[in-house]
Subunit: 379 residues, 3 copies
């Protein structure tokens, strides 16, 4: 029970562990010249039930359903084989629906991101399939590197009346330096999407730096039927004891069908973020897969301690201006994360945003502020 | 396992308990002069999956999703701190989605109400947010009183495109007499709602004394855009060994916007109910929070006993006649509850209803009868 | 834990067991003269969370929610009493929602069918209520026979604004020969449906031999308001060690209202299937209730074995030609099932299909091929 939640193991080697995730958000906006943007909202960023486990030493499975955002979505639903190839190299093969890797933030679970919402690269360059997809995933981990490749169709809850769009998506990282104090992280990712003929319109309306204000978005404007897209991204950064800093950059090149007269449209995004754990713990970054992870809290609140406290900051940039009516946006976020113990935290984010849309209800330069908070338990 | 279901506790003080609730209903109606009201229906009043637990001695959490009524709804999703202020006083603070307190019936879980459906005060005076809402709740319990206050936005599954409506809702009770045989209960509650500008119409169609006949309702008729509402209610009654009796009264005053020409509209409801546990158990009423609770069955059926048997009766009245086209209704219910053990019961209700609507499909005086039954397990 | 998954039992005799089911499918179609039929799709045939358990020696309950196919559906939600009438005879009474028995395939859980999809009798002759329905079920089991009768209304997630349609559905089987090597199985089933007046149109669009291609269907064409229907079916076959073979035939006679000018319309379906377990296990058939069941794997993959391997084949026929614009179809399936252990398997089906529709988007003779696969865990 080191993870702080129950895990049941049978004599035959079958293990079962319930999974739960509750992320409760509240958010205020102000300062926009559009009154519809200055709203206060609440919501559940995640509300999940599920289970996971292993069978024998090589087989594992996970299942999770999310009930947040007025929709029911099967997120994880996969099983896999894991095999040790050598002392330092492990490989696994999954089948089913699993979070596909794409950038540091995009490969991190929603309960482990250092900010309320993932960065602009993750949000603005998301493939049509979304974060999940049904198919095969292969992951191989060495002592200071990993490679993940997924070939997936549409999410579980998609139509059976037309061809699935298919996506090949991969990511790799390497730590040229890895010491007990920290790592230098270099990473890259990319994907290729082939759209089903049933995809007759592709528009991106990316929320900026938040989840609970539908009106603070950056729009590509109406486009048309796409043929395929290619995307790539780069990751550079590292950790040193309680400090971490990462920069990410990415582009998605969407090839539209000749009939649209659009040709190739390039969406671009960048983000730089940093954090400092003030209470002495290591930065909550999992070197093995190159993702953020939950804090290993030294003095949990429930044992009389202070918990762990982390200060974070981010700048991010979204650029859809290559599209005829594409907008732009930038956001600056300062955040405070209080980890009560290994499975719960409270978050506070202050966000200053700028958007400059050429289409939609909020055209022209605008700026404003968001104050967001989250209460979270996840196991 | 005194509660009759599994609870898992880790050495580190983390506990996890699965929650489940299945309420299966069947219902027949007859005697109405409208044939569409004389229908037989079946349904699940509740079909829930979830979990709850504690972390250390002060922190607790609960999560539950309901799949009944052709809709998926996150009901409970909260965490809280609990603190003993003195030998007799305990306070707690919750954040998330939780049943907000409003009257005896309205503060009681759907698996613990003595009748198939909660009373007219609960149903007819429900705030726009419904039974649940996302926000903060504070509860403080003394030896013979409690006070609960919630400040909540909209439910989890609401829109992120507009301001949340907000509701402040509170309830308190006091037991001037409290002995080992029973209590005298005095209670009061109230709420204030501020409607979001996105609420452009408010109509109340309250089902009367049942859940599974959509056509037996009392209508306010079409109203318009509301500005805010204030509601209050009073509770008076008590228990003596196996006997209980309570009266409740409440009003909701809705202030409409000037453009509607409506001004203030007052909705009113009242209910009187009583019960007798024939098999010797105490009345299933939790003095601490002033709500009904599950029976503590002396001789469970699964140990060869008879279970517990309770006779119940209720009169209730709904009065929407202050609205220009508002209706009225009254209902008389007699019921038999058979508690097989602490977690399961069978219910039978006979209901005589009267409605007098001025709008909708069932205008004018009408009366009829309902026979409803429920099979229930809940843990 | 003999079933390979955790089960928790309290000192008081309450048991609780989590249930999970993940069936991940992928499918390719080719060869049809309609390009919309030659599509590749993926999906989750089942994605379920739930629990089951017992209270004392006579009471049991089960609850399961399915999140597959972009819909949330409460499937099982029932409780029951079980009583031993003699050494060889056990009877049980359930209330709630449970799979109603109808043919061998139709009485088998979706995780235990030997082919990716149930046979034509199950699919083409399904009552309006579907596979589940809310009501009462009585089952009685002898040493070589069983009888099941259900009286049910509509599924849990149906309307409360109109009368429920009601269905009486029953099934029985007898084993004239039953030895340690196998059984001869004779079975029969039938149902009677009374439609609610709210059912103003009844059309059957039966998918042929697969689940994930919405375009490969057999259509009755537009009909009209039905009054009631009667259906029956016959089952004949048996098992001998690792071999099994069954034939099924069924008809559904739908009586339409006079206003439709249709009179009685007869839908017909037949199927013959056989299987061979190559690795020495007994055929995965539960004699007690006359259904397929999960394999009892002798050498699980997770203990270094090969698992169990089964070859299966099926021919099936659907005949809606008694309807004015009713179609016909036939399908031949060859399949390979690899059972890794008692709770997981991988399936591969090759299907050759023929359809001849008189209505819908795919009129006239057509044929094609399907390749389908499934990865499954179920406990």
């Amino acid at each position: 029970w080191s993870e702080g939640d129950p895990k049941f193991v049978s004599p035959g080697g079958f293990s079962f562990r319930p999974r739960g995730r509750i992320l409760i958000d509240g958010q205020l906006a102000s300062g926009s010249r559009f009154s519809d943007r200055n709203i206060s909202t609440t919501g559940a960023r995640a509300a999940r039930l599920g289970f996971e486990g292993t069978y024998g030493s090589n087989f594992f499975y996970q299942f999770e359903v999310d009930f947040a955002d007025a929709a029911t979505e099967v997120t994880s639903a996969y099983f896999g084989w894991r095999k040790k190839l050598s002392n330092s190299v492990t490989t696994e093969l999954n089948v089913g629906s699993r979070l596909t890797e794409r950038g540091i933030d995009g490969s991190t679970g929603s309960d482990q991101t250092p900010f309320l919402e993932r960065n602009a690269i993750t949000i603005a360059l998301v493939p049509l399939k979304g974060f999940f997809g049904l198919g095969f995933t292969s992951k191989t981990f060495g002592s200071n590197w990993h490679v993940a490749v997924s070939v997936v169709g549409e999410p579980i809850n998609s139509s059976s009346a037309s061809d699935d769009s298919t996506t090949i998506i991969g990511r790799a990282h390497w730590n040229p330096i890895k010491t007990s104090a920290g790592v230098v992280h270099l990473g890259a990712w990319g994907y290729h999407e082939d759209y089903s003929s049933s995809v007759t319109n592709l528009t991106v309306n990316a929320r900026e730096a938040n989840r609970y204000n539908d009106n603070i978005r950056i729009f590509t404007g109406p486009l048309g039927a796409p043929n395929h897209s290619n995307a790539f991204g780069l990751e550079l950064g590292g950790t040193h004891n309680g400090l971490w800093a990462f920069g990410e950059y990415g582009e998605r090149h969407i090839q539209f069908r000749p009939s649209t007269g659009l040709g190739l449209v390039k969406l671009k995004a960048a983000a730089v973020s940093a954090g400092w754990v003030m209470t002495g713990e290591k930065a909550p970054f999992a070197q093995r897969g190159g993702t953020f992870t939950m804090m290993d809290v030294a003095n949990p609140v429930f044992e009389g301690g202070l918990g762990a406290i982390e200060l974070v900051a981010r700048y991010e940039n979204t650029d859809f201006s290559d599209a005829p009516l594409g907008g732009k946006g930038r956001a600056w976020t300062a955040g405070l994360n209080w980890y009560l113990n290994d499975i719960s935290r409270v978050m506070l984010n202050y966000i200053h945003f700028k958007t400059n849309n050429k289409s939609g209800d909020y055209v022209g330069p605008d700026a404003g502020n968001l104050l967001g908070t989250r209460f979270q338990i996840s196991f």
